[in-house]
């Protein structure tokens, strides 16, 4: 009976890439139909910076900011917004909803594995974060004259490790939350924690030293972004901690993740 089900080789080859592309297309379409998250993730950091940048006093260099202007000082913190909106809110809520509605299970009843859905969702959210980050840096540098990141490689690494850590935590939330609502709840709390420690709610100069110190190691690790953008480079210890969090959280998520 096996010969009846074996498809010609070219067809099998085609059928491996085609479903993934179709899935990516379909998910992108759905992603764009929910413009709030997308816009929030992409535009909010740049918009906040633009709002602050419109205040003349905040464009003057000041002692408290280590001789930097406030916009320059604050810009790295704002990067945490896109990373966390998509990483710990959109990603886990999306995956948990798919699981709750039996969509992942429906996928596992087709030749395509539900793992493909997870990968596509992950990539979509990552691409959105990357867009948000690029836009934010572009606005900062292009409109408000903030210096371009001084250590581009360190900046890229900070982005990679920091985003990796936040997304891994997002996966972990999706893995342990029994229902989509719970995922959203946990995601919101985690989001606020990341924003607080990144200095989004209160700029770092208003925070006690110890909080700032801890914040350097809370994903996405804005300390490393700051170091690479306006300082002397990303702190390798911070980068290593983010990478470690990314690996451990992903591993734990993989262990506990349920497809149904």
């Amino acid at each position: 009976m096996t010969e009846l089900v074996a498809a010609p080789a070219h067809r099998q080859r085609m059928s491996r890439a085609r479903p993934l592309l179709a899935l990516a297309k379909a998910e992108t379409r759905l992603f764009l139909r929910d413009p709030v998250t997308t816009l929030l993730g992409i535009l909010l950091p740049a918009a906040v910076l633009a709002g602050l940048g419109a205040v003349p006093a905040l464009r003057e260099p000041a002692e408290v900011f280590g001789g930097l202007r406030f916009t320059e000082y604050f810009a790295p913190s704002l990067l945490a917004i896109s990373i966390a909106v998509l990483g710990v809110q959109n990603l886990p809520t999306g995956l948990a909803t798919y699981r709750e509605k039996g969509i992942l299970r429906r996928m596992s009843a087709t030749p395509v594995s539900p793992f493909a859905v997870l990968v596509v969702q992950l990539l979509l959210n990552l691409v959105t974060v990357a867009l948000g980050t690029v836009l934010m840096v572009a606005v900062a540098v292009g409109v408000f004259g903030v210096t371009a990141p001084r250590h581009p490689l360190g900046f890229a690494l900070a982005f990679l490790c920091g985003t990796g850590a936040v997304f891994a935590i997002g996966l972990l939330i999706a893995a342990v939350a029994p229902r989509a609502k719970v995922a959203t709840g946990i995601g919101t709390v985690v989001f606020m924690v990341t924003q607080f420690f990144a200095g989004v709610y209160l700029p770092k100069f208003l925070l006690p030293d110890v909080i700032v110190r801890i914040g350097d190691f809370v994903p996405p690790g804005i300390g490393a972004f700051q170091g690479a953008w306006t300082g002397d480079g990303a702190d390798p210890v911070q980068l290593a901690v983010m990478a470690l969090i990314a690996v451990v959280a992903t591993g734990t998520a993989a262990r506990f993740f349920r497809w149904e």
Binding site: M1, V5, A6, L23, K101, R106, P111
Partner: protein, 302 residues
């Protein structure tokens, strides 16, 4: 060679055994029904066949493939309709069908399938805006879009209104006529009786009967039931002596006789010999419902 062979399937969950010992074979081109009360192990059985669950014992072969080892190959030839599964709210009918079509090496024409199942006008409608019947039809379309050789449909018509249910039945016959073997899980007697070529009745994790719908009914000891008022008194023994009669009961003045074969003929002849006329005589044929109750000890429709 059977299309599906299930041999001594056993599956337990943490605290209870869902399937004790289930064996059956589904033949090419038939509509095979799996009938049983809720919680009998029907869905667990088909989920093992589909490779969505791993059995704790027994063996399953579908078109010669192993559900778990040959996962991908099996899914290319198996159309699956799950009992409760949704799609993303904002995904549109046409998009869903085309997406699923892309998963298969030799899919059916998405547009044609959508039309055939009456979803043409809903092609651009988001999943969340569909009615229950439309969602159900969409899930059938998704099960068929890969041009499967076997389709497994679980509680297909649950939640449909009577007209939609009838339409769905006609459509399932169409699927079979196009050469697809159909496995139908249901707890609706009428559906099983109307559609299935053969039925496995599952109760508490066991196959308690496997036959055609007519065969299941005929196997009942009291497949036929006569009711009448006798014109004159007579002794029950007159009738119980007949080989066709299995029981005689009296309720008030009404006599109820159950049995099989030429029951009507032998009973009236025998009564006539004793100068008794059967007044208000009625003959009831047993239905699959009765067979089901006799086999499982439960009432059917839940």
């Amino acid at each position: 060679m059977p299309v599906i062979e299930v041999h001594e399937l056993h599956k337990r969950y943490r605290d209870h055994v869902a399937v004790h010992d289930v064996s059956f074979a589904v033949e090419q081109g038939e509509i095979f029904g799996i009938l049983g009360p809720n919680g009998a192990g029907k869905t667990t059985t088909v989920e093992c066949i589909e490779g969505l669950r791993s059995p704790d014992g027994g063996s399953i072969s579908v078109l010669g493939l192993h559900p778990l080892r040959d996962r991908v190959e099996l899914r290319r030839v198996l159309g699956i309709q799950l009992q409760a599964s949704e799609l993303p709210e904002k995904m549109r009918v046409g998009e869903a069908v085309e997406l699923f079509a892309s998963f298969y090496p030799d899919p059916a024409d998405a547009g044609e399938l959508i039309e055939r199942w009456g979803l043409g006008p809903k092609r651009k409608t988001a999943f969340a805006a569909l009615s229950g019947g439309q969602k159900q039809r969409l899930s059938i379309v998704l099960a068929l879009v890969g041009n499967p050789r076997v389709a497994i449909l679980d509680e297909l018509t649950t939640g449909l209104d009577p007209q939609a249910r009838r339409d769905t039945w006609a459509a399932i016959e169409q699927i079979r006529d196009s050469g697809v073997t159909v496995v139908l899980v249901t707890h609706f007697m009428e559906e099983a009786e109307r559609l299935c070529d053969r039925i496995a009745v599952i109760d508490a994790g066991h196959v308690v009967a496997l036959d055609t719908p007519a065969g299941l009914v005929a196997s009942l000891p009291g497949a036929q039931r006569l009711r009448f008022r006798p014109s004159a008194p007579f002794d029950d023994a007159v009738l119980t002596a007949l080989p066709e009669v299995s029981s005689v009961r009296r309720t008030g003045r009404t006599v109820e006789v159950t049995g099989s074969g030429e029951l009507l003929h032998v009973v009236t002849t025998e009564l006539a010999r004793h100068q008794v006329v059967a007044i208000d005589l009625r003959l009831d044929q047993a239905t699959l419902d009765d067979a089901f109750v006799a086999l499982t000890g439960h009432a059917a429709e839940i």
